[in-house]
């Protein structure tokens, strides 16, 4: 990466969903979907966000875009040629002015595209909503975008149903790129795709990043995909980031026991690969009623008495490697052989 500028900084981001009683609709508790998350993304960098379903990855991604209103915390964007802004303090109008700079690509390319709009309507919608951002005519821009993502501009007047899954995901990417954003949240963009199509979309996302220096928050539960596309990786468990490091370091020498288990659960496409088998006991805790101390301690093979009492903070182990574990420095965990 040729640019070390910070693009996005998130501090203490929290989202608690109220739980209401059946009858009186009184608040009887909170689901801590996102619980004090700190992270940053540099310009042109991919931060991979990995975790199991229900850990709060998607909620975090949406809170960063204020698609869901966070409960607390700061979301700072350092956009090119502008003062850093706290996204959370913006009012409706100011927020709308910022929207073009940050976009989103969704998992399911079927439900993400309106079946009654043509491809032209879909891709041009963000342009029509943000007239100030258009340099050329809208038609020209749509043609350009379709070419960039590998679609034939001739098909501009067709409806989404005429396209295959992979092509639809290309349409979603083109729509996200329309306003030349600096940051894109990719929420499981390749999870619904077949192997041969998945590689096409991954290549496309990599190429676009190199070309336009967009920052990605790449959410996925697939660790091989995360390993492939990310510069840095953050591992999430029950609303908290438990480890973040560069992709290479995280996969080679994980420091959090949960990361270790995740890494060894990846099925390797090689019948000759010999790997250590680690299994997790128990179930993912309920984020409305998480365990005491470290949320991972009931399932952790290395847990000690202190783990049930104290919540470990995400602390720096080495530059760029942060871990939330009391024994991060002492444990000798196994990474996956490259």
């Amino acid at each position: 990466m040729n640019n070390n500028e910070i693009l996005l900084e998130v501090r203490g981001l929290t989202k608690h969903f109220p739980l209401k009683s059946n009858f009186w609709r009184r608040v009887i508790g909170h689901v801590r979907a996102v619980d004090g998350v700190d992270l940053f993304v540099r310009r042109g960098e991919t931060l991979g966000l990995v975790g199991e379903s229900g850990c709060g990855k998607t909620t975090l991604g949406r809170c960063i875009l204020r698609a869901i209103e966070p409960t607390a915390g700061e979301v700072l964007y350092h956009l090119q040629g502008r003062q850093p802004v706290d996204f959370r303090s913006l009012s409706g109008d100011q927020l709308r002015q910022m929207r073009p700079f940050m976009q989103m690509v969704f998992q399911d390319p079927f439900s993400a595209l309106d079946p009654r709009m043509t491809v032209y309507d879909i891709i041009s919608e963000p342009l029509r909503a943000n007239p100030g951002r258009v340099m050329t005519t809208i038609v020209e821009r749509v043609k350009e975008l379709m070419t960039v993502v590998g679609l034939n501009p001739q098909y501009m007047e067709r409806y989404p149903h005429a396209f295959s899954t992979g092509q639809r995901q290309r349409i979603s990417v083109a729509r996200a790129l329309a306003t030349s954003p600096e940051f894109i949240v990719c929420d499981e963009p390749v999870s619904a795709l077949d192997v041969s199509v998945r590689s096409q979309i991954l290549n496309l996302l990599l190429e676009l990043q190199d070309r336009y220096q967009v920052g990605y928050l790449f959410i996925s539960h697939d660790l091989s995909v995360i390993h492939h596309i990310s510069h840095r990786v953050a591992v999430m468990y029950v609303g908290k980031i438990v480890e973040t490091a560069s992709a290479v370091e995280l996969f080679q020498s994980p420091k959090h026991p949960y990361t270790e288990v995740l890494l060894h659960a990846i099925p390797r496409p090689d019948p000759r690969s010999k790997r250590i088998r680690l299994y997790l006991s128990g179930e993912l805790p309920n984020p409305a009623n998480p365990p005491s101390g470290c949320y991972f301690h009931p399932r952790c093979g290395y847990a000690q008495e202190v783990c049930a009492r104290q919540t470990p903070a995400l602390s720096e182990l080495s530059p760029l490697h942060h871990v939330a574990c009391h024994f991060a420095a002492e444990l000798n965990l196994n990474g996956v052989a490259m």
């Binding site: 199991e52 379903s53 295959s164 899954t165 992979g166 092509q167 077949d194 192997v195 041969s196 199509v197 998945r198 590689s199 096409q200 991954l202 290549n203 990599l206 190429e207 539960h221 697939d222 660790l223 091989s224 995909v225 390993h227 492939h228 596309i229 990310s230 510069h231 992709a247 290479v248 996969f251 288990v261 995740l262 060894h264 659960a265 990846i266 099925p267 390797r268 496409p269 090689d270 019948p271 000759r272 690969s273 088998r277 299994y279 997790l280 179930e283 993912l284 996956v336 490259m338």
Partner: protein
């Protein structure tokens, strides 16, 4: 059927087609494979390649207007000569004994496969009463024992639980318990871990392997995940557009693949050993819809090595390139013996 007594299921020249308004859709177009005792066959392929329809044909549960032809020889548990499942009445008694009793099946989405208005126990007992014992008490005990076997804690209580009360991993375990409750000789697992998280997936895969060893059954494992196949299968059949394009033992498929599709597929997965952010191999285009396709290799439109005039004029036959290794490709055939 093959006389080899090691072979439990022998599928020969299986075709399944659907007559649609747009034309004849050939979902399965000439599939042959065998399932050996205590072995796992992996059926791999992308969506729409016909892997699920193939196993549905085995159980005779193809949705209308599907039509099937071909032979499906099953060696029954009770002994006797093998029966051709394809010739049985799909609503008759004999096939009903086979379904669940001799061939169990687990599905991708346990939430959809279970009835939401009956308890887990109810649904397990129902199968056991049909196949194993007429005594409700005995069936109940067998169901509890089965839940225990798939490592569900408090099986007595779980018997009374409804599917929505269990977590995803737990539901899939209960599904496995239901499929194995009558001790089938073959278990068909259709993408059983696709909807699960990696850590849960690892546990479910281990459970299937353990139970397979314990009960001595064979498994037909359907998946699109090459990593899962590498871990589970003894033999692998790679499917594309309704055909098996390559089949062999698992090591050969992953280390000495021959069919261009298998080779490209293996190169296009983001594997951990690869350089991060390197460009992946892509297979251009998409899988064609198997409607009114002419006689030519199904992979012709996407194959880099395709030779016009060879690959687009006839169907490539499945050729044995080595013992146990069959490939459907004109470009990978041993040179023909010189005609005398």
């Amino acid at each position: 059927m093959n006389d080899d007594s090691d072979i439990l299921l022998d599928v020969r020249d299986l075709h399944v087609s659907f007559q649609l308004r747009e034309g004849l859709l050939k979902a399965v177009d000439g599939v042959d494979f065998v399932v050996r005792k205590r072995k796992t066959v992996g059926l791999v392929g992308e969506s729409g390649c016909g892997k699920s329809v193939t196993v549905k044909a085995v159980l005779q549960i193809i949705p209308p207007p599907g039509k099937m032809r071909g032979e499906i020889w099953l060696r029954r548990k009770a002994g006797g000569p093998p029966v051709d499942l394809g010739k049985l009445d799909p609503t008759g008694d004999e096939i009903r004994q086979v379904r669940g009793g001799e061939i169990g099946m687990i599905f991708q989405e346990p939430m959809k496969a279970f009835s939401p208005v009956h308890t887990i126990g109810n649904q397990l007992v129902e199968g056991i009463l049909l196949h194993t014992t007429p005594d409700p008490k005995e069936a109940h005990d067998a169901a509890v024992a089965m839940l225990e076997r798939v490592k569900i804690a408090n099986p007595q209580q779980r018997m009374k639980a409804y599917p929505h009360e269990l977590s995803g991993g737990m539901r899939q375990r209960a599904m496995i318990a239901a499929a194995l409750a009558c001790h089938p000789s073959i278990l068909i697992a259709d993408e059983p871990t696709t909807a699960l998280d990696v850590t849960v997936q690892a546990e479910v895969l281990r459970l299937i392997k353990d139970l397979q060893a314990e009960l001595g059954m064979s498994v037909i494992f359907i998946t699109h995940d090459l990593g899962v196949v590498a871990e589970m299968a003894d033999d692998v059949a790679v499917m594309y557009l309704g055909r098996i394009v390559e089949q062999s033992d698992v090591d050969t498929i992953f280390h000495e693949p021959m069919h261009p599709y298998t080779v490209e597929l293996l190169r296009s997965i983001p594997e951990l050993g690869r350089t991060p952010r390197s460009r992946l191999n892509t297979i251009e285009g998409t899988v064609p819809v198997p409607l009114n396709l002419g006689r030519r290799c199904g992979f012709y439109s996407r194959c880099r090595e395709a030779v016009a005039g060879v690959c687009d004029v006839a169907d490539p036959p499945a050729v044995q390139v080595r013992p146990g290794h069959r490939v459907r490709c004109f470009l990978r055939q041993p040179p023909p013996a010189v005609a005398v």
